[in-house]
Structures are given as structure tokens and as C-alpha cells.
């Protein structure tokens, strides 16, 4: 381990110093909360799918919608735009 790598371990937020250091990370890694669908309230209209900026929401086989957690950044647009309040944002511990 060279001196630069040791230095980067001490830094809390900014540890991407070398080219290619960000490769193991995915867009969903910095998410604060993830959406969850209440299947009793959901009418499967698909508004959450239309308004997702990252294209993370897909239609499952049973017709309801689910989020691909590798892509979801937890912005909460689906929670805000759902007419029936079926989407709740659950904080990630």
C-alpha cells in the first residue's frame, strides 16, 4: 500500500483519487431512501414509471411496479407523483 492510498483512507467523503476508483460503485449506492409500493392502493397506472428520471422502475410479471435498486437514487418523485399515495419512501438504515 503506497502512501497515497493510506492518505485516502483517512479522508471520509473524497476517496476517489485514482482513475478507475469509482468502478465498484453503482448509482444506487448513495441513496438515502428507497421506494416501496403498497399493493392495496396501487392501481397500476404507471405514472411512477413515466416520471422516473433514472429509468429504474419496471413492471413486474404480476402487473405491479418495482424499483431496480441498483439504479434508483431515491429522489422521491414516484412518491410525490402517485395520486393514491401508494408509494412510500423507506429510510435506509
Amino acid at each position: 500500500m503506497n502512501s497515497r492510498a493510506q492518505f485516502s483512507n483517512e479522508m471520509v467523503r473524497c476517496s476517489l483519487l485514482e482513475k478507475g476508483d469509482g468502478k465498484p460503485f453503482k448509482p444506487g449506492d448513495r441513496r438515502e431512501a428507497s421506494p416501496e409500493w403498497d399493493k392495496d392502493k396501487c392501481i397500476r397506472c404507471g405514472l411512477c414509471y413515466v416520471y422516473c428520471p433514472d429509468g429504474a422502475i419496471y413492471r413486474a410479471d404480476d402487473g405491479y411496479f418495482e424499483a431496480e435498486l441498483d439504479k434508483c437514487k431515491g429522489c422521491g418523485i414516484c412518491h410525490r407523483e402517485c395520486w393514491f399515495g401508494a408509494v412510500t419512501m423507506v429510510m435506509e438504515g
Binding site: P27, C45, V50, C52, P53, G55, K73, C75, I77, R80
Partner: protein
């Protein structure tokens, strides 16, 4: 659950074209939402696409298919205060430049955007699209509100949605009862230090430009 059989994505192509493995967009980015909807409308049937940087920090997207040449301005209002935010592109200018089709669109109205882009692809010659993309970081609001703020901008007549086709003007989204301009400005922290007189001044400016459009 058989209350409704309406499925919104049936009106849009179901295949996803905007699928980057890693995109660096912030959560709730209006620009990413607009680009995704543009890709959906295009359906990968395009000859040439090129990105440019505009004068005021907005990004320009040039597209070519057959005879159609489309210039899309993705405006996130990166620079400028209230006067720039209130004043928007003039259709008269576009007509003077010899643009055969010109329209404004917002990612909060996805079907409107889809229809306009399809129309732009069908018309031969130069076309111009102006898209307002709310930016949660630059405008300083909660990433949840991206779509809501885009809708407020249209409802408060700051950014009316219209199209100019062959010299004739047509409004695509009618707003019979406009929202107060203060509602739109209050949500954004970048306008938090505005005084009431300034807001009233901006409101009169919005009304004047709207009357000019009609």
C-alpha cells in the same frame, strides 16, 4: 384491483432506450428525465446526434434524421436571476430565423413532449425545441418536487407550452386559471431573498409576455 384498467405507459413505447450503466446525474434531475423522454420518443431511429454547450450554460442537442434537423435546447437556467427566469424564448425570433417548426415542452407533460418531438421529426427543415428542465441543485429545492415545479412553471404562465407551425401559433396546454407566481418562486430557495415588489414586478412582466404571445 379492478377499479381502473388505465395503464399510462401503453401510450408510450414500453422499451427503455436510456439505460446507462452509470449516470452521474443528481437524484431528481430534470435534465435526465427530459433526455429519457426524448430517447423514448426517438426510438433509436436517428442518424446523427451531437451535444453542444449553449451560451448560458444550457445544453443543446442536435439531431438529424432524413430531412429533419432538430435543435433541442435543454434549459436549466444555470445563470441569471429573476429577469432571465421570467423572460423566455420568443416565437417571433424563431420565425425570423427561418425555423419551420418551433415548440416549447416540459418533462412534466411527457405526452405533450412526445407528440411535439414526433411532429418535429416528420417536418422537413430546421426545427427548434425549448425544454425547461428543473435542476434541484441549481434552483435549490427538494429533489421530490422536480415534476411539480415544472408543472407550476407552466401553470403560472412563466413557461407557456405552445408550438409554432408554419407561422401559425397554437397553445397546446390551456391554462384558464393561472397559478400565482409567488407559488412557483416560493418553492425555490434561489429566490428566497426576493422582496415583494420584485415579485410583483416579475408577475407583471410574465403577464405582459403572455399577452404578447397571444
Amino acid at each position: 384491483m379492478d377499479r381502473f384498467s388505465l395503464f399510462v405507459p401503453n401510450f408510450l413505447p414500453s422499451k427503455e432506450y436510456f439505460t446507462p450503466e452509470k449516470n452521474q446525474a443528481c437524484p431528481g434531475c430534470g435534465l435526465a428525465l427530459a433526455v429519457r423522454q426524448i430517447y423514448k420518443a426517438l426510438e433509436n431511429d436517428i442518424e446523427k446526434a451531437a451535444w453542444e454547450t449553449g451560451s448560458n450554460g444550457s445544453s443543446l442537442l442536435q439531431l438529424k434524421r432524413g430531412k429533419a434537423e432538430i435543435m433541442i435546447c435543454l434549459d436549466n437556467e444555470a445563470s441569471g436571476g429573476i429577469t432571465e427566469a421570467v423572460r423566455k424564448s420568443d416565437p417571433a425570433l424563431a420565425v425570423a430565423e427561418g425555423v419551420s417548426y418551433m415548440a416549447t415542452a416540459s418533462p412534466s407533460y411527457p405526452f405533450d413532449l412526445n407528440e411535439k418531438l414526433k411532429k418535429a421529426l416528420d417536418t422537413a427543415g430546421k426545427t427548434y425545441l425549448h425544454i425547461l428542465c428543473p435542476c434541484p441543485v441549481g434552483w435549490q429545492f427538494d429533489p421530490e418536487l422536480t415534476v411539480k415545479i415544472g408543472r407550476f412553471a407552466v401553470e403560472s404562465r412563466v413557461f407557456p407550452l405552445y408550438e409554432v407551425e408554419g407561422g401559425s401559433y397554437r397553445q397546446t396546454v390551456m391554462i384558464p386559471k393561472p397559478r400565482l407566481l409567488a407559488d412557483y418562486l416560493k418553492l425555490q430557495k434561489r429566490f428566497s431573498d426576493l422582496r415583494e415588489e420584485q415579485v410583483e414586478e416579475a408577475a407583471t412582466q410574465v403577464e405582459n409576455t403572455y399577452k404578447k404571445l397571444i
